[in-house]
Symmetry: C2
């Protein structure tokens, strides 16, 4: 049985303001919660779950995690999703930031004003697949602890380090290498894939900001010579193609 | 002013059943509706728009299209989106199917049970970018006239031909070439990109069906050797990487 106070607390985590206040966020869905617990991807102190979930997975839960049995209706009330799930976990945000200089040794992503939570989550999942461990985000990106980001990242949000970085600071470190996606860039096959530095992906409708493009080591473009009429690619798709190119 | 009957008719188009009955569907949002009309991408007979939209674009609308001025509230009632838009158009579905043999001359996509409308729309947008004119879909794919598919395709839904095709029929034509994405396939760099045939992308959670994999000319895989832990890529991202590879 979920107390009124706890329900209110969990619901409050749907808002960035409260996530930042408590340094906690919610994770929903059987697969991602199970991954989270099994792989100890983040500290969890509370789980709300239906009897179905508890009877199937309850015995695998470490003792220091409080498991509250809830009805599907109760779960629906604290869930941020339309279709009810079986389980919701409250997890701790990770602390710590990655230094910019990491890009001296390896490829890092820099996300410039990515606003759509589905895109953000999919980009993190893609970074995970290609072994990009460090993703920097501009302060005007969507909050990575937004429930839709968590959902579409699958569990990659827990594996990739995400650090907020002002674009000015990135520009001050442009010597590390800035490869900015741009519709006016050089076609990918004409550019030698870098071994380190930043790959910059831009906002869904504006693309990469002008100041970042101006300070880029190279502006890069995904060829679309045969296109029927599309003006651009989805930014998560473009990230995948560029990371596949970067190897 | 929107009559009750017309409002009811437009709302009914949110359901596949009525879209199929009337052979019509709705298109929402300023950019996509403007593209639709300017490029004559589909036959439109009705537009509901706010005064803002009408004062800005109304003079460009051909005379045979009925334009009904609506308040934002009225528009909200017939819209399939949460956030109100300025304009909604009712368009005719395209008739006509593309023969399977088209894949003898060029690369076609075959989508096997793609269920998420956002993925479907993004895949069509990606096909458009890479000049893949013909996309075949299994009967259990999400309806391409679902409003969320239209939205995420941008206007690509109107440029790419989409034909429903049973996978059995595809298998009967496997001599045309079937390149099926599969986590157990050959890594892309080890396969010579085909000039024609079908690239098959599978369901979000199940992947490409076993029967299609068994009849594939080649099973192909996007290398993820450095991955941190991701089990797969989003299917739209994977489609982008494979189409970029196929050139």
């Amino acid at each position: 049985m979920l107390s009124k106070n706890k329900a209110k607390f969990i619901r409050s985590l749907q808002l960035r303001k409260y996530r930042q206040k408590y340094h906690k966020f919610t994770v929903e869905g059987v697969k991602i919660v199970n991954d989270l617990i099994r792989e100890k991807l983040a500290r969890v102190d509370l789980i709300c779950a239906t009897d179905t979930w508890i009877s199937r997975y309850g015995s695998h839960i470490p003792e220091d995690i409080e498991v509250i049995p809830v009805s599907p209706k109760e779960l629906g009330k604290v869930s941020s999703f339309k279709t009810p799930n079986e389980v919701l976990a409250v997890a701790d945000m990770r602390e710590g930031t990655i230094p910019v200089e990491t890009a001296q040794e390896e490829i890092c992503l820099y996300l410039d004003a990515i606003r759509d939570p589905g895109n953000m989550g999919t980009i993190l999942r893609t970074a995970d697949w290609f072994g990009v461990r460090n993703v920097f985000v501009s302060p005007d990106c969507v909050d990575i602890y937004n429930p839709k980001v968590i959902q579409s990242s699958m569990a990659s949000i827990f594996r990739v380090n995400v650090t907020t970085l002002e674009s000015d600071v990135l520009i001050a470190h442009s010597a590390l290498g800035i490869y900015a996606s741009s519709l006016e860039g050089k076609p990918l096959p004409d550019v030698i894939p870098p071994k380190s530095g930043f790959i910059v992906m831009g906002n869904e409708s504006q693309g990469t900001s002008e100041s970042l493009q101006n300070h880029a080591t190279e502006r890069i473009r995904i060829p679309g010579d045969k296109k029927l009429g599309a003006e651009s690619l989805n930014v998560a798709v473009a990230t995948g193609i560029i990371l596949a190119w970067a190897g």
